[in-house]
Subunit: 114 residues, 4 copies
């Protein structure tokens, strides 16, 4: 649950999905990176706007666009997670599915609350 710039490393215990090494988002990796680079550009655009004393409302519009882009990225990631990790856990049987669903639900809750 690291939320710092440094990023998080997969906690041990997640190996069931990590067996797949790529958590289901491998194929989309390039697309994800492209999306994130575009968002990074939007954030730099915001800095330029603040620096140039752009009208507040226009800055807020840009913030809304960046937030939407982030949520959209999260949704894409979540879809792949459900399709791969959660579905895998179901196939494996046992308690795994409960843990996975619980974890995914908490992540969705955090997205809703932000």
């Amino acid at each position: 649950m690291t939320t710092t710039e440094a990023g998080a490393t997969a906690p041990s215990g997640q190996t069931e999905c990590a067996d797949h090494a790529t958590h289901g988002y491998h194929k989309q990796k390039d697309e994800h990176l492209k999306r994130l680079r575009r968002i990074e550009g939007q954030i730099r655009g915001l800095q330029r706007m603040v620096d140039e004393d752009t009208y507040c409302i226009d800055i807020l519009t840009q913030v809304s666009a960046s937030t939407k882009a982030l949520q959209s990225f999260a949704l894409q990631l979540l879809e792949e997670h459900l399709r791969h990790c959660v579905a895998d856990a179901a196939l494996k049987g046992g308690d795994e599915i409960d843990a996975k669903v619980d974890e995914a639900t908490k992540a969705i809750g955090r997205l809703l609350r932000t």
Copy 2:
């Protein structure tokens, strides 16, 4: 309403508030830039996480943190806007206040919808 990286320039007609040149967020400019640089760092952290195949759920946690930071920045900007531009429009009298309130409400609506 430019939402591109290029940023928006203050539309003409916003000069009532632009007279103040700094739209009320001048004093906080450094603080704003610092916040935005931190968010930029978070987005780069996300790229690193994707690149290193970090577990999806941990990436989602970081997305939630970045979204929250963006919303928090927007709220700060909005507060200054209400305190300066909207209050100024009220003092000026005339129709100005209606236009300003309408504009601010629409911006809040966009933030809620993202």
Copy 3:
């Protein structure tokens, strides 16, 4: 800040705006009540859906619609508040405007976070 069914009574100290007795939303009172009755109907519709074992996804769609309707009501109320109470505080001068803007910003923050 009462959040119970019982509802809140205007806290003393809000009399600056309460002088207007109707907090700026008087004219829209009927419209507000109509909106809220429609939302109440949506919530009762949700109970019926749960009772009749409606498919989860369809219930979630209805929840999204109800949430949107509530946010839309909040935005309308906020607009009137900014137009009347906040603008009045600006005209009065003194510290009043700071308190009003602070209060409004916190309310917007709560709406964003829900």
Copy 4:
């Protein structure tokens, strides 16, 4: 996708999950109905507040609480849906899981956007 008070009936084609007749939320049915009745009470509380000219900010606080309660209900429903319907689709094999995940992701997207 009915969003009216009348509620939605399960669309044909959802029978895979409807076989379970109760879509996984059967055991929680009473709890769900209790939650929804409480939310209905909050909405009626809002009507009373508007009717009694309660201070706008206090009404907005109550709206935030109701919205949060609705989102919380949605999250609970979603968890049961993932645990039962989505997991079942994974076990069944075939294309079913793709359709279910796609459908769930769209529902989450609607919740995020409201």
